[in-house]
Amino acid sequence: MAALGARRLLQPGRRWFSETVPGTPSPPISPLYPPVVASVTAKSKAAKLRRLQRFKQRVHAAATVEEKLRLYGKLQRPKYMVYPQTFALNADRWYRSFTKTVFLPGMPPRAAAAKPPVAAAGTTPEAGRAPGPGAEALGAAGAPEAVKTPGAAAGAVPYLGMGELRSLACDALLQESFYQNKKRPFLYRDQDHTPGPFLTQLVSTLAAFLSGRNPLLAASSLDLNPEVNYYWHHGEEVVVHGHRKGRVDPVRFQIDDNPHLQIRVPKQLPEVVPLESDLGDVPVIDHKPSKLPLFKKQYENKVFIGSKVADPCCYGHTQFHLLPDKLKRERFIRERLEDQIEVVYRSNGIASLFAWTAAQAMYQGFWSEADVTRPFVSQAVVTDGKYFAFFCYQLNTLALTAETIKNNPRKNICWGTDSKPLYDVVEDGNVKGFNDEVLLQLVRFLLNRPKEL
């Protein structure tokens, strides 16, 4: 009898010895024990991962950008010094692999609406201002520019006269090289003697002339000989000598650059192509960077755009680089290394612009673990006084460390032209063979601005 009763009680789904009714959820209890995680101080891989995680959390949770930069570059270790102006052979290929940059020859196609039309004989102003493909505006501007400002054709925006711009450029050139009485330049100081002052004069006068047309230039900040620094990790290597021998370390790089001139603006330049576009391939080089040759040193890990974080002009517009005497064209021609001339321009453009755009992104709080959400665009002109090469860089990703690069399809993009001469010779107070396209491209660079303005 008792057994029958017991069987009735022991029906499936019923626990006769406890009071809880099955099926209802138990009320949430706070965990009795702390979470089981790896130790912080142990000599194990899990502990190392936990320490890395704590460091990343500290950087993510930093209150100000200065604090973030301080924590990011706190640990000093030997790192490769990357020089933008280098005589190393095929340096631009190596630099592209360090910075995950795709290089595209020529200038990016830009909407014509951003540029005011330049006077050209016979073409209507509307054609220049229609928001069509950039080729239209380029075609309109590339037409023979011997004409000065035509009269008031239709269109509210006053035209730029090629004659005025040309006279500005020729004045600066003649003043520096012909009118001014200068002694012979000291040995290996040719660039500081004439091309340096000419470039400063040209850019300042052009910027002042065009600031009426481009309100961004009016609010910009023009710096002479500023410093641009950036520090980053890319790839991994095994430590060879020393007390840390055998450990796997990230490969550290630092760029310390001193452009001749820098224009910084308070508003960012618009993106050229969407963030996730894939326009080419990044070269992959298996060898160690020291084969370039690149040398290691340990010093301060600096990230700097040209001014401190509190500066309102925290976005970059254009930089101007002057090539030193060591990298003159004549020297390359004498050593029968003609193909390396363009490599010098390209490596300077890629390295300097990567450092500048990446430092700008870090000033906004992005870093390799917190990748950029909008592309950063900057421009640069690399020159040796006579030959000008133009570069435009779009930074799409900062995540170049060994772990973050694995699932990162984004690549940085650099557009660049070959070097073209601005003039042929300066003789007897005349500039012979002035090239208008180079000046036009320079003016276009200076007039570049976001669409709202």
Binding site: L89, D286, R336, L337
Partner: protein
């Protein structure tokens, strides 16, 4: 070398007593880089002129370093024996040329006779070894051990 002063004669060496030895790099080098062991008195200019004038090799860049030979080994009289120092030159070739150090000891093709002889020899050695070992069921214990 005699010191050069402005206006003086250009130093010319017609039959140099230098020798350059192309070596296999210890660490992988880029494709356009060739590694040489050169005489300690040679300079970068010497290396460049040597290769360009005598062997017509286009040279884009030369970098040199001196390798110190260690002095740690001791002979039977406990005197230190020094390995000689030598200079290493890394030459980057011009005009897009590349160089790969050849494999000087390739594996020789074995014909059927040598192959079958090698197989026979391996099998014989295996049988001999098996005879030496005892019963595998005893787990390595020698056969004189037991009750």
């Amino acid at each position: 070398y005699p010191l050069f002063q402005r206006g003086g004669p250009q130093l010319r060496i017609f039959r140099p007593n230098f020798f350059m030895l192309a070596v296999r790099p210890g660490v992988p080098q880029p494709e356009d880089t060739v590694q040489f062991r050169v005489s300690m008195e040679m300079t970068k200019l010497d290396v460049r002129n040597y290769l360009e004038r005598i062997y017509n090799v286009p040279v884009a860049a030369v970098r040199t370093r001196i390798q110190y030979g260690a002095n740690n080994k001791r002979n039977h009289r406990n005197q230190r024996v020094k390995k000689p120092d030598y200079k290493v030159a890394y030459v980057q070739l011009g005009q897009g040329q590349t160089f790969q150090f050849p494999n000087l000891f390739p594996e020789k093709e074995q014909d059927t006779e040598t192959r079958s002889f090698d197989d026979f020899r391996d099998k014989y050695m295996e049988k001999e070894k098996q005879k030496q070992e005892g019963d595998p069921r005893r787990g390595g214990v020698p056969d004189w051990f037991g009750l």
